[in-house]
Amino acid sequence: MDISRFVNYAMTLIIPILVLLIGIVAGYTITEKFFEIGIQTIYIIVIELTFLTILPIAIGFLIALLITRVGRGR
């Protein structure tokens, strides 16, 4: 059997299971952490989480767009 074909089949089978399990653990951990610190502070924390998650991702992506042009075939 062709090795790349085998790898492809195995990945098709394993990836959905892995993604589902990671989702379950992430969902549970995040919920648990929220209850640990108390419902009333969630509002403030959600704002901080949003800024601290989105800004580094967005700025990093924009910088990458500026300094790497390989992905767009230039």
């Binding site: 090795i3 790349s4 790898v7 492809n8 195995a10 990945m11 394993i14 990836i15 959905p16 299971i17 892995l18 993604v19 589902l20 399990l21 990671i22 989702g23 379950i24 653990v25 992430a26 969902g27 549970y28 951990t29 995040i30 919920t31 952490k33 640990e36 610190i37 924390i45 704002i47 901080e48 989480l49 800024f51 601290l52 998650t53 989105i54 800004l55 580094p56 991702i57 967005a58 700025i59 990093g60 992506f61 924009l62 910088i63 990458a64 767009l65 300094i67 790497t68 390989v70 992905g71 767009r72």
Partner: protein, 201 residues
């Protein structure tokens, strides 16, 4: 495109299940170990197919060069993002930069910041876990147009947990760049966070 949506949907279903159902310590342990095992299996499989695509040493050097550019973008984006968030929310600049520099490595960021402040430890853990979650959802959507640039979203997770998704929705060359990127960041984060936290004047 169909694969991308299936991955995103499966992940969202998983998140929903995790939020809805109570898991005891044993269940979390078993799930974590299963994930670890599956990640190792996938890493071996991805490495086999990546090795097949490297034709020469020159190829490898080229991949490393691109990875370094992406690493620079990820680190500078995280510093700028943390700084901007601290300025907007009028908070501790040093800690916010340290949290943003976790770049998805939530186990290290959370536990390291716990030695300094419990609140920032929680923030460091959750922000970086969200970054991993965001990668599962955003990367497949951006991968068609910006497969290399979008690697920055994953941060350090691109060498393990998010690598299978990157590999599935792109190709082996991109997977190799993502792996090198994640590897460099995983080595850098345990050095860069303590430096930011302790040596800041």
């Amino acid at each position: 495109m169909k694969t991308i949506f299936i991955i995103v949907i499966i992940f969202v279903i998983g998140l929903g299940l995790g939020v809805l159902f109570y898991l005891n310590n044993l269940a979390v342990f078993v799930l974590s170990k299963t994930i670890e095992l599956l990640v190792y299996i996938l890493l071996s499989l991805i490495t086999i197919s990546m090795v097949n695509t490297v034709n020469s040493f020159k190829d490898l050097i080229n991949h490393i060069n691109i990875s370094i550019k992406v690493v620079i973008s990820t680190i500078s984006g995280s510093i700028a993002g943390g700084l901007l968030a601290a300025v907007i929310l009028n908070s501790d600049i040093r800690m916010y930069i340290a949290i943003a520099l976790g770049m998805g490595f939530y186990t290290f960021t959370g536990s390291y910041l716990a030695t300094i402040n419990r609140y920032f430890a929680f923030l460091g853990f959750t922000v970086n876990m969200f970054r991993e979650v965001a990668t599962f959802i955003i990367y497949p959507l951006l991968s068609r147009k910006y497969p290399i640039e979008a690697i920055t979203i994953g941060g350090a997770t691109t060498m393990d947990t998010t690598l299978p998704v990157i590999s599935k929705v792109t190709n082996n060359t991109i997977a190799m760049i993502a792996f090198i990127h994640g590897f460099i960041l995983t080595l850098t984060i345990p050095v860069i966070i303590p430096v930011i936290v302790h040596l800041w004047i």
